[in-house]
């Protein structure tokens, strides 16, 4: 492939990579996507020489005025799109970009056309970044960097050769393997440099156009009113809703975890709801922590609680999840509300995934509650959590029968829980049609059901026994990902369970649903875990990378520096006290400029390395200095010979060739010829023949020069 063709091909490839990214976002109307892909395909095929399609040739041959008219038409359609169809600047601009690209693809004549195509492809890449946060963007970005480096180097070469020849002259030199690898090396280098810049340049906030268009995941079971049976509908949905890390714990958490979402106090026979929907805004401490209960309890949680980092996807609910029971919560939000049953809410839904951290204290039943037989509940609790719909008397009878001779409320609750776990079949095959009295249906007729049926039945049964209870919806931990050390929670992990009130201990979690055996881990699920953990890291360290992370990184770097510094200073003081002042100065400057220095040095070393590679390979630098190192060495050698001869009165005229001059020397000073001839031969071989210039050659040449110098008359 000649450079000219390679240049064309790379320019089109650049546009193709950027456009592919845009298509992958799925935000492009299919018509435009097909148009763009078709235009790219035919132009690339034409460049490679596969299809000498006559139609394309005719299109390419259309006069400039036609293309200008098309551009104007595209602009007009942009206006219409903006005002009437998309009604938003970003999609309208993206559609306009695609039209521009298609027009430019067929109209690449001058240098400026190529530059415009590059600008369009860059804009497409930026638009893609605004439209997606997915992992594949990393691939598109890397491909774009490589294609861009190739293209820009070829563009530069082409420019230089045009200017050198004063007018358009096709560069017919073939693309060598060396050229290919050199450019790829540069691409890798600049990609690393970009990474350094990415992590070092201070973040000022989210992008200007960063409009998160991720689809909200529909959840069930967390709205104000929950119909019985909604959770069953999502029990087979593998969509990941959140990922949970435990910074203080290595490996999966041993005790049973329930990630609590919403809780409900009122059951009307078919659906759950809350009697009072009033929400209280939580107090925010100066460090941005929201305390759910009293500061004292939160302080206790600080020492003994379970800390969780939760990355939650964009859900259609404002509920904040956390292991039961959440004591404090911290994240990038200004307001957190809590309702009367302990559900935590944001004031409005977020449109993007976000991260927050939570501290929880697990529920613990205190000893008195376990043994006390007669309990008096507070009025507020009695009013709200003993409410019963119109259920038949059979439920109450069953509850009493199950409770049997259990005397304490705790024992009764456990008895009911055990009874439900053992006597009823877990199954998702329950008709979604809501019957008139689902609880009775479940308890007496079908005897099969899933978590909601179990939990609702238990709450109703406990309430008939006079024990306050409520229904809670949330998630089970899901699958432990041992590559990334986190739980990935999916829609199918949605769950409903029961909380029972005890005067001394508060609310305690009960789960009447029998545990379902989980599937054995297969190879596929292991691969899935690896991919999922990479996806989490991409989101954590690239998409969500923030100023806070930079500060944390800088801080840890500085702490490392401090540690090194103290070690060094200890060593120094042990060696001598006389250097104390110098040490203080060193320490002071290290403190002030520590991480800037490290970053600067790394970037500098990278640049120097790149320059060295560039010069060493010589391939990419041909336009700057076309001569290789050994050619330069040969020229220096020859020039030294000429200087020696000039001093001896033999001057080479500028128009004389090396061989002519050697003959002239032989004619005029025969005794010098035996030095000049081999030197000229070596020079010609290396300078014009690119022959190797070995150290032997170098030594021999020096001897010859010395001999020539000595052969003075």
């Amino acid at each position: 492939m000649t450079l000219e063709r390679a240049f064309h091909f790379c320019s089109l490839l650049l546009a193709a990579v950027a456009f592919t990214g845009l298509v992958l976002t799925g935000e492009i109307p299919s018509g435009l996507a097909v148009l763009g892909l078709a235009a790219l395909a035919v132009t690339i095929a034409r460049t490679i020489g596969w299809g000498g399609d006559r139609l394309v040739d005719r299109l390419v041959g259309l006069p400039t005025s036609v293309w200008t008219a098309l551009l104007v038409a595209a602009f007009v359609s942009f206006g219409i799109d903006l005002l009437l169809i998309s009604r938003d600047i970003l999609p309208a601009a993206v559609h306009f970009l695609i039209l521009l690209m298609v027009v430019k693809l067929f109209h690449l004549r001058h240098r400026k056309d190529f530059l415009q195509l590059y600008a369009i492809s860059l804009s497409e890449l930026l638009a893609t970044a605004a439209l997606t946060v997915d992992l594949w963007y990393a691939g598109v970005f890397v491909a774009y960097v490589f294609a861009a480096i190739w293209t820009l180097i070829l563009y530069h070469l082409r420019n230089e050769s045009e200017e050198a020849h004063k007018g358009p002259s096709p560069i017919a030199r073939p693309v060598t393997r060396q050229f290919f690898w050199t450019t790829n090396g540069i691409a890798v280098g600049s990609f690393c440099l970009t990474l350094v810049i990415f992590f070092l340049i201070p973040r000022i906030g989210t992008g200007f156009f960063q409009k998160n268009r991720t689809e909200l995941i529909r959840t069930s079971g967390f709205s104000e009113k929950v119909d019985l049976g909604v959770i069953g509908a999502v029990k087979l949905d593998p969509t990941v809703v959140m990922r949970i890390e435990f910074p203080d714990v290595r490996g999966p958490v041993q005790n049973a975890l329930y990630f609590r979402g919403a809780a409900y106090d009122t059951y009307d026979g078919r659906s759950w709801g809350n009697r009072s929907a009033t929400r209280r805004t939580l107090e925010r401490t100066p460090d941005g922590v929201f305390l759910v209960s009293t500061p004292q309890a939160a302080a206790a949680a600080e020492s003994g609680g379970l800390r969780q980092e939760i990355l939650i996807e964009a859900l259609d609910t404002t509920v904040l999840f956390g292991a039961s029971f959440v004591e404090s919560i911290k994240g990038g939000f200004q307001i957190v509300q809590v309702d009367g049953v302990g559900g935590l809410y944001l004031p409005f839904p977020t449109s993007a995934r976000f991260q927050y951290s939570v501290r929880s204290v697990p529920d613990r039943l205190r000893e008195p509650d376990r043994t006390t037989e007669s309990v008096s509940y507070p009025d507020l609790i009695r009013q709200r959590f003993l409410q019963l719909p119109d259920v038949g008397s059979r439920v109450g009878a069953l509850a009493r029968e199950v409770a049997g001779d259990a005397r304490t409320p705790y024992e009764r609750a456990r008895a009911v829980e055990r009874h439900l776990q053992q006597k009823y079949q877990y199954s998702l095959d329950v008709s979604t049609a809501v019957s008139a009295s689902p609880v009775e249906d479940f308890l007496f007729t079908r005897k099969t059901g899933y978590c909601e049926h179990y939990a609702t039945a238990m709450v109703v049964m406990l309430r008939t026994l006079g024990i306050p209870a409520r229904l809670v919806t949330g998630f089970l931990p899901g699958v432990w990902n041992d590559f990334g050390n986190y739980y990935s929670v999916r829609q199918q992990d949605a769950h409903a369970w029961v909380e029972v009130y005890f005067p001394g201990s508060g609310w305690v979690t009960f789960d009447p649903t029998p545990s379902v055996p989980s599937a054995a881990p297969s190879l596929f699920s292991r691969v899935g875990k690896v991919v999922d953990s990479i996806r989490l890291k991409w989101d954590r360290y690239v998409v969500q990378y923030s100023f806070r992370d930079q500060m944390a990184a800088a801080k840890s770097l500085r702490e490392g520096g401090e540690k090194v510094r103290t070690e060094v200073s200890g060593l120094l003081s042990a060696l001598t006290r006389g250097l104390a002042s110098a040490k203080a100065w060193l320490a002071g400057s290290a403190r002030a400029y520590g991480w800037i220095l490290v970053g600067g040095l790394a970037a500098g070393a990278l640049v120097v390395g790149l320059v060295l590679v560039w010069r060493g390979r010589g391939g990419g630098a041909r336009q700057a200095d076309p001569r290789t190192a050994r050619q330069v060495a040969a020229i220096q050698l020859y020039e030294r010979m000429l200087r020696i001869l000039e001093a001896q009165g033999l001057l080479k005229s500028p128009g004389a060739t090396p061989l002519e001059f050697a003959r002239q020397v032989a004619r005029e000073r025969g005794e010098a010829a035996r030095y000049v001839e081999p030197l000229t031969g070596l020079y010609c071989r290396v300078r014009f023949g690119q022959a190797p210039f070995s150290s032997d050659d170098d030594r021999q040449a020096r001897e010859l020069l010395a001999g020539l110098q000595a052969a003075r008359r």
Binding site: P626, R627, Y638, P654, T657, P658
Partner: protein, 313 residues
């Protein structure tokens, strides 16, 4: 046998017949390997025909000679379609141009029409007769001669037509010793007939391909272009060297490097070739002198120009 010894064998084979003219033989070989055509400008009887003949014999390929006269027609060169009685169809009878080596003797004595039919064939390596195209054999080389001393009844080739020839050389009289050797030879046999082929056609084609691979450093490319652009700027020259001329010099330099047993060009290759490759492509400003003088003068102008362009270090 490697390429060097093959080329050497070819040269010495020809030099057995063409005595005392090593540089002319070298240029002939260069023109062959550069896929070019040769124009020999000289008086009759100095061995032009013999040169062409011995080249053809050394390659063991077909050879035709066309004597150009004022009444020669294009069909006398290219061939003609005749009606075949039995097959009831036109049949193409190829002309003398369908040979590997064609000697076009005294090309300036025929009409421009006939001249241009030959030159078209040289350029395209094919012949079109009656809207059908016939490819010429491979390799194909025309060696044309013209006598600069004749004026009456000649049609000198214009410079634009001369451009088609890779180079123009003059043979000149041999010196006394060499002439004596020529006379000493037995006269019964044509000297070229004694020669045996030393190269096959395939070997010639391979060597022509090798020429493409000869390295020409960027600085030499610039040197070559500097020479060419100097011819366009010189006050002595009315019309400078065309791009085709630059391409011809480029190619000939590579072929000369190969003939001189190198796989890279030296400035010497370009400098030695420039008068022969460029002189017939320039038009000097009108001045006194016969045509012969004019071509010698042009060669001198080119030589002066080459001498004035600095050789890259």
């Amino acid at each position: 046998m490697n390429s060097t010894s093959k080329i050497q064998a070819l040269r010495s084979n020809i030099e057995r017949v063409i005595k005392g003219k090593p540089s002319v033989v070298e240029m002939t070989v260069v023109a062959l390997f550069a896929r070019g055509h040769l124009l020999i400008e000289d008086v009759p009887g100095v061995g032009k025909t013999t040169l062409a003949h011995s080249l053809a014999r050394s390659l063991g390929c077909s050879f035709r000679r066309i004597q150009f006269t004022s009444d020669l027609l294009p069909s006398d060169i290219l061939g003609v379609s005749v009606f075949h009685q039995q097959s009831q169809a036109f049949e193409f009878k190829p002309g003398p141009i369908f040979a590997h080596i064609v000697l076009a003797d005294e090309i300036n004595r025929t009409t421009p029409k006939t001249q241009s039919s030959l030159l078209e064939a040289m350029n395209d390596a094919q012949v079109s007769v009656d809207s059908r195209t016939y490819p010429l054999p491979h390799p194909f080389m025309v060696i044309a001669t013209q006598n600069p001393w004749e004026h009456h009844g000649t049609f000198p080739l214009p410079e634009s037509q001369l451009d088609r020839f890779l180079m123009r050389v003059r043979i000149g009289y041999p010196d006394l010793a060499d002439e004596k050797k020529v006379l000493d030879r037995p006269q019964t046999l044509h000297p070229a007939d004694e020669l045996d082929p030393v190269l096959t056609l395939q070997e010639v084609l391979d060597l022509q391909d090798r020429v493409e691979k000869v390295r020409l450093d960027d600085s030499l490319m610039e040197y070559l272009l500097a020479i060419v652009s100097e011819t366009r700027r010189s006050a002595l020259i009315a019309l400078g060297v065309s791009t085709r001329g630059a391409m011809a010099l480029h190619k000939a330099a590579k072929a000369l490097a190969l003939v001189r047993d190198r796989d890279y060009c030296l400035p010497d290759d370009i400098k030695d070739l420039a008068p022969m490759v460029l002189a017939h492509r320039v038009t000097l400003h009108a001045g006194p002198g016969t045509r012969r003088h004019r071509s010698e003068e042009a060669e001198q102008v080119i030589r002066d120009i080459v001498e004035s362009v600095p050789v890259p270090l």
